[in-house]
Symmetry: C2
Subunit: 643 residues, 2 copies
Amino acid sequence: MTVRLTFNPYEITIEVPEGENLLRAASDAGIHINASCGGEGVCGKCKILLESGEVDTTRSGFLSDEAWNLGYRQACQCRLLSDVVIRVPPESLLDRRTLTRRRSGIALRPSPLDLNALKASGYYHPAFQKRFVSLSPPTLHDNVCDLSRLEQGLARQHALGTVTIDYFLLRKLAQVMREGNYQVTASLDYSRRRYRFPHMLNVEPGDTTQRHFALAVDIGTTTVWVQLVDLARGEILDHAADYNGQISYGDDVITRILFSQTDQGLQKLQRSAAASINQIMHRLLKRHHLPVEEISHFTLAANTTMTHLFYGLEPKYIRLAPYTPAACSIPLTRARDLGLDLPPHVFIYCVSSVSSYVGGDIVAGVLASGLFKDHRLTLYIDIGTNGEIVIGNEDWLACAACSAGPAFEGGGIRFGMRATSGAIEDASVNPDTYEPMIITIDMVKPKGICGSGLINLLAALMEANLIGPNGRFRDDLNTPRIRMGENGREYVLATAPDTQSGQDITLSESDVDNLMRAKAAMFAGYVTLLQNVGYTLQDLEQVILAGAFGNFINIENAITIGLLPDLPRERFQFVGNGSLQGATLLALSRELLAEERRVASMMTNFELSETPGFMNHYTAALFLPHTQMDLFPTVKERVQGRK
Amino acid sequence: MTVRLTFNPYEITIEVPEGENLLRAASDAGIHINASCGGEGVCGKCKILLESGEVDTTRSGFLSDEAWNLGYRQACQCRLLSDVVIRVPPESLLDRRTLTRRRSGIALRPSPLDLNALKASGYYHPAFQKRFVSLSPPTLHDNVCDLSRLEQGLARQHALGTVTIDYFLLRKLAQVMREGNYQVTASLDYSRRRYRFPHMLNVEPGDTTQRHFALAVDIGTTTVWVQLVDLARGEILDHAADYNGQISYGDDVITRILFSQTDQGLQKLQRSAAASINQIMHRLLKRHHLPVEEISHFTLAANTTMTHLFYGLEPKYIRLAPYTPAACSIPLTRARDLGLDLPPHVFIYCVSSVSSYVGGDIVAGVLASGLFKDHRLTLYIDIGTNGEIVIGNEDWLACAACSAGPAFEGGGIRFGMRATSGAIEDASVNPDTYEPMIITIDMVKPKGICGSGLINLLAALMEANLIGPNGRFRDDLNTPRIRMGENGREYVLATAPDTQSGQDITLSESDVDNLMRAKAAMFAGYVTLLQNVGYTLQDLEQVILAGAFGNFINIENAITIGLLPDLPRERFQFVGNGSLQGATLLALSRELLAEERRVASMMTNFELSETPGFMNHYTAALFLPHTQMDLFPTVKERVQGRK
């Protein structure tokens, strides 16, 4: 159920889900309403006038009897129950010209290779298949070994000539065949490209062809995601995530590589990643009452460092020039050899990496997004410390990692933080009063600013003309919101009484510098890559944003600050967690599994530091949005035209 | 150096190695000299007269000054230092007609597929090969992963296109490449029949192509043998053996299978076998100053039960009708997954079995003996509790196990024992005085009788006409050597003062019955098998005796009692421990490794209890040598003609 929400005096109407929070809805619509406490309701600034319609709300001390009776409400405390009309009061009001189109209406689009598409296209053949066989019991005249009996059954009933056998299956074969009264189900792996024959990994008593599950895992530097897949039905049953336990040894890949060089360091990191997967997996299995024995297949995608750490491979040379990983393709590995609580028939299928900083997570995303099968010239971006970019189409792929630094993950920013409860994720600034509207995750008092919040805030400061193209705050304004701090001028986003820590939350020019460097590295990365393959930004027919972070980026704001190219908005799409999606699709499609290594080897890696033009492009991009404003025509028109 | 030894008054001369013991030499020549203490020198009965030549001896209290000066010596105390002539004194003398040709002069013949033959025939390509590669170090313009660099080097320098990779190799790859300054040696396995490509298992810094070793192992029910093979030079360096540690859980396969069904029983047996291999292996490696890392290859042969117990497979149904093993072919298994102290690059290559009672030890023997490439109709026999027989040639092979029972291993025989120190291994009986000549292992006081001793003794009793074709002792003789015992009549082989235990050592009619049943089972086995494939005994062009026991069997005596067929003696040959030989050859020849499973599947198994004719043949063979004396013409002529 959606309801209509109209903002007066702008006469702007949007549709939102029933029950939506009014402050969030305003933010999504690009309507500014002063709000300093992130949505917790304790600053009392986000008052609006309810003109018609019904909201669920509570009354706080900030509203006098008179105001309440007139229809004033705190926007952050209202949930919409019907079509509603509100009026933004004068103190929050801003010039209509400065209204921004906020969300671009770009929904998360499933991959062109999603489940339904896979099934429809005949591309859907899980690498693991179960075969039920009905055997006759042995007699003195037919007493071949249990294994031969099973192989003969597979040959006769499923036209399976030779199969190869996993040793561990033999340990239980005699018992399983008798327990099943010679009615058994064999699990066969058709994915082993370098084997001549299907590989038999498991055997179960009775007909278990309908009980057949896979786990798809994405080991992120911060978060581990596990998806539970029903192979018999071709459905994603559930997923769960948690922090990567390695976090206690370091926040980013570099500190973890350094830690791996300490005594037992690599082993600790390896065990820690395995423990995280085990914990999430057990949670998922418990939720679905699945015994671990019913897991047949395990696919994995991760960046190159995470892959090395999980497999216990030496990661040292990833960090040192000339940046060589030990291995980009990892052969099948028995899950329990890596400390996973899985039965011996489960092997790990890991998506290949391309280079030290373009990992299996990106290859998985390229697979999941269908980019490698798309004729359109596409830019695939995963924004993070090492923003990875891929450019190409079905015929060729080029890729690179941009050392963007941790700014978009909150690193190097005084009040930067991860996207957890209390992080300011949305912000706008009233260009007349310089008052902010901030919304935090969970709508509690703010603690800091997360990556998407930083992008939104920086764009808002530009839109409000508080900050110049060089990243310096204006010094000609008489407002307590801009002041000199320890690191140059700073904008006060929330004052002490409204914050969790009881200290002001600010964004300084030093923070802005860091953000500019990060976005310049990304921008210079894809411009350089395009240039080196003979294209320009305008040639891009499609831009795919990947990564958990990608989902929360406001495209419009990201273009405003010069992080994303200023292209027609319909060319953008989100792919979500491409790494996890890719791993899941691999679990479901043996055809895709067979293409995985080919796709990775298709991806020509560029070391940007060695690539002509990169430094120039980087320097040129150290402006907001860019030194060459013509590269950002819509921003030029809107932001700069306004001055 | 050999010396000539002449026995008077028989005027028989033989050649023996210098230093040979005189009593043993006499026994080998078929000359009877009374001897009751096994050769320890404490019965004083084996006196002979030294007519000429030089011996190394000591004088005991049994020889008076006069006797010593006349030239009397104790045969068991003499070692031959020159050509020697002796005279057998009257008390040991027997009728020349009763002299038997003892040793048939059949030496242990190496396999037609022995090392030199392998090399000469071009059949010698170890499955494991090392390849040295010289790589250029990575630069920023060429920073592919270490694995790709190595693969490219193998492709360019050794024309090796695709190789598959073992995961564990990756764990050390980065370090090894740098330690070797990008000069490394890769170990490749060419044996994996079901892989498309060679499989890379190990990588070492520098050029290690000349350091390349294999272990070949035979797990016998009683003894574990390990052979150390130098793959670089194609040489057997050494071997060592020890008891199978499982012995503490039971002497034979059946008691071990029963033990495996107790709590943790299978696990204990598995660990115990692994521990035995580890112990012998470490001893061998230490002796040759070899680090365990230089072992590349591991081949194994064992009977079906030992294979199941070592691999931890359920052995229960081997024992129960219809006698189905869990698996006859075991896939490659990482050695350390089975508890062997070997690095992760070592996999175990196990020779396939045929059925529950025709195991990989027999298949290995068929490979080692070259039977599967021989056009001659051949009988291959491994005598033991389950005497295994194979009949066939290069075109077809039939096999069966005969439940001979443990008599030939000393089981079910009152004074039966294993072939260890103090076991009577050779015996003859003076047909006039009924006095025995016994020789023990290590020539110490007798403790009991081992398998070969039992065969020799039974033949001697027949030759001396002390026992009839029905296995009963004559009751018409007035001699203390034959008396009534608890189990019918018995022959007294050694009296209490001459034995280790201080009690008489005897062979009773009950013991003889057990021996007859054992030899009848073997004989009926190969006669039945021959009949079922349309042949008779006379068609056999070759008889190969295998097994450690086989080496000690006196062919002539084994024919005399009806255990072996009465064929021209030149058709017999020994192959020694065929199981160990086969395992060793597999380590050295990938061609043979590739044929191993084919040969096993060529071998058609007969369950004798279900095979027409077996029971009749068995019953007919419960005589000495057989109810149909015409089947044993030379025995008929010699033994029976004498009566």
